[in-house]
């Protein structure tokens, strides 16, 4: 039997005690997941994240004092290694985009928490992004709808094969160096590819890129 790797340390942030209790139960059934703290509002979450330095913070958006998006921004800017999973009732893209821009790596709807949370935590600890199927569907639908409305060309066609590879890897959360290693390129070349991709797709940041990839169905 393989020796267990170091367990993943998790902080829960939700203003509902029942919800937190349920989540704790759900997570602790997994042997390698460990809940190290619970916060009932955004401010507490920021403090706990700072003191506990967990691997993952599971964060609700609608919380008193400081909402989940702002708390995520503060946590990630202080400790970029902490991966934040947003667990929210909101399915609209404005919440998804803002969460991603604030530094969250995964976005789950609460009604799919039971099914997706474990998978999401594993994905983000590996550096990937994760979205609830429902969220993915909404983002994609909206995107297709908007494309259709604007009558715009699908800019994905403008990308070269190499750029598409880079796009997928970056969207999955790989750093420039990791991408370079995987594709046997220099970090500088990867950097150039990234710039081109952003220009061609008219995007401005990595969260935009991730969102684009989700909408296009490149990553899940």
């Amino acid at each position: 039997m393989e020796a267990p790797t170091r367990s993943i340390r998790i902080v829960l942030a939700d203003d509902h005690t029942v919800m937190r209790g349920g989540l704790r139960l759900l997570l602790e059934r997994q042997s390698n997941l460990q809940v190290v703290g619970e916060a009932s509002n955004g401010r507490e979450a920021v403090e706990l994240a700072a003191s506990e330095q967990p691997d993952v913070v599971v964060m609700d958006i609608a919380m008193p004092h400081l909402n989940g998006v702002e708390a995520t921004r503060q946590i990630v800017s202080r400790s970029p290694d902490i991966a934040v999973v947003i667990l929210s009732m909101h399915s609209d893209e404005s919440y998804v985009i803002r969460s991603l821009k604030a530094g969250a790596r995964a976005y789950l709807l609460k009604d799919s928490a039971e099914a997706d949370l474990i998978a999401a935590i594993h994905a983000i600890t590996e550096g990937k992004s994760f979205f609830s199927p429902a969220v993915r569907r909404i983002l994609k639908e909206d995107y297709v709808h908007q494309l259709h409305e604007m009558g715009a060309e699908d800019s994905y066609e403008l990308l070269t094969n190499r750029e598409r590879e880079v796009l997928q890897l970056v969207a999955e959360g790989k750093s420039n160096k990791e991408v370079a290693n995987l594709l046997s390129l220099s970090v500088y070349t990867v950097e150039t590819h990234r710039t081109h991709i952003l220009q061609k797709l008219n995007l401005h940041s990595v969260p935009d890129l991730i969102l684009y990839a989700v909408r296009k169905g490149i990553i899940s």
């Binding site: 009732m89 399915s91 404005s94 709808h145």
Partner: protein, 454 residues
């Protein structure tokens, strides 16, 4: 409540005003009647005076004429009698007698006439005159019938009887003349008295008419002033009532907004979260029971499906009541969400060009959001538009907002639905201006300008 009380006060004030109108009409009618009566009376009296004056003068003239005839008859008959007595020729004497008879007839007639024209009170001197005249006639008759009277009686008759009687008669006539003159002057006096009375009457009438007119004028002025002040009061009441109504509707709108926000939040934060927790607990429960209990697993799955459906319902209800992005992220994400939703639901193309506006108050955000929401609703429901442009632009001291569609338009001057009125009210409440530009067949633009203090 206070409004209703004031209105009923106003209604009660109408009663006396109606009475006043009747009084005023009666007053004017009365004044007119008074003036007519006074005029008619004056004309009547004047005519009476004139006719009685003419009558008095006429009867005086007749009297004097008759008396002077009597007088001249007496003189003439004396002369004729003298001529008769003095005449030698018998035929000439006869002619004189005939002449005298004619004179006597004439004189008698004149006597009767003057008697008729004289006041019966003054009849006594006339009766004596009549008696004297009859005596005189008898005397003359006797003389004329006596044969050879010329010779025998001439001297004595002429010097005595005839002259004496004639003198007496003439003095009687003078007396009657005096009476007649007196009667004339008394008629004049009577006339003067009547005139004075008429003057007094006209004066009184004039006074009465004038004072009635003055009273009427005073009443009219008082009434006009009262009506004016009443009108002013009513107007002020109207203005105040409208103001109150506006404030009330604004309060209603903000209360409704607050209520929606509270319900939305409650639904989302409490009901939604609890359902999510329920879902998870159901999952946990399923995981804890022995894996071969298919029955339990099926029930748990059913619970989860129900809870999931409920969460979705709650989510949609929450957003429809008040989109949470409006409070969480601000106006633009909320507008974009709204545009996406409308677009998805109706197939209408909705473009939003909105700048992220700095530090907008909650009231402003809500106002703009609701105006756009209502406008989009109209575009989809009434205008049958294919594409809509929503524009929100921030300028130094104001926010410009417009929603422009390519729908069928309507007559913006004549038609104004409740939706437009509501939008306008929201905008006006924040001191902004609201504009609807539309024409059948040319699309609709709803625009608003909101002042902002930053």
């Amino acid at each position: 409540m206070s409004c209703r009380l004031r209105f009923s006060d106003g209604k009660m004030a109408i009663g006396p005003l109606r009475g006043g109108r009747r009084l005023l009409l009666a007053g004017f009618g009365g004044l007119l009647a008074l003036m007519l009566v006074a005029g008619a009376d004056a004309v009547l009296v004047l005519r009476q005076v004139r006719s009685s004056d003419a009558q008095i003068r006429d009867s005086y003239l007749r009297r004097s004429r008759a008396l002077s005839q009597v007088r001249s008859g007496i003189y003439q008959s004396a002369i004729v009698m003298r001529d008769y007595l003095l005449s030698e020729d018998h035929a000439v004497a006869r002619a004189q007698v005939e002449k005298w008879t004619a004179i006597r007839r004439e004189t008698d007639r004149a006597l009767r006439e003057s008697a008729a024209a004289l006041d019966p009170v003054e009849a006594e001197p006339l009766q004596s005159l009549e008696a004297e005249v009859q005596d005189y006639w008898r005397l003359l008759e006797a003389v004329s019938q006596t044969p050879d009277a010329q010779g025998q009686h001439r001297a004595s008759f002429l010097s005595g009887e005839l002259v004496r009687r004639r003198t007496a008669m003439l003095s009687l006539i003078d007396r009657i003349d005096q009476i007649s003159t007196r009667e004339l002057s008394s008629g004049d006096t009577q006339l003067n008295i009547t005139f004075d009375r008429l003057q007094l009457r006209i004066g009184l009438m004039l006074g009465a008419t004038l004072s009635a007119g003055l009273m009427l004028a005073a009443f009219t002025i008082w009434r006009t002033l009262r009506l004016e002040s009443e009108l002013e009061k009513r107007f002020e009441e109207g203005v105040r009532a409208r103001q109150e109504l506006k404030e009330l509707s604004a309060r209603l709108v903000s209360a409704q907004e607050e209520e929606r926000r509270a319900i939305s939040r409650e639904l989302h934060d409490e009901v939604g979260q609890s359902l999510s927790a329920l879902l998870m607990e159901a999952g946990n429960a399923a995981a804890s029971v022995s894996t071969d209990s298919a029955e339990v697993r099926r029930h748990v799955e059913s619970i989860k499906r129900l809870a999931e459906a409920s969460v979705n319902v709650i989510r949609n209800m929450t957003l429809l009541l008040r989109p949470s992005m409006l409070d969480d992220f601000g106006l633009v994400p909320a507008l974009e969400w709204q545009a996406r939703e409308v677009s998805k639901r109706t197939g209408m193309r909705v473009q939003v060009a909105a700048e992220e506006t700095a530090a907008l108050s909650d009231e402003h955000k809500t106002c703009i959001y609701r105006v756009v929401q209502e406008a989009l609703h109209n575009c989809a429901r009434h205008a049958q538009a294919r594409s809509v442009k929503v524009l929100v632009r921030q300028e130094p001291s104001k926010i410009l907002l417009s929603v422009e569609d390519d729908g069928r338009g309507f007559d913006a001057v004549r038609t104004r639905g409740l939706g437009l009125v509501g939008m306008e009210e929201r905008v006006n409440h924040l001191g902004g201006t609201f504009l609807v530009d539309s024409f059948p067949g040319r699309g609709t633009t709803v625009a608003a300008e909101l002042p902002v203090v930053i």
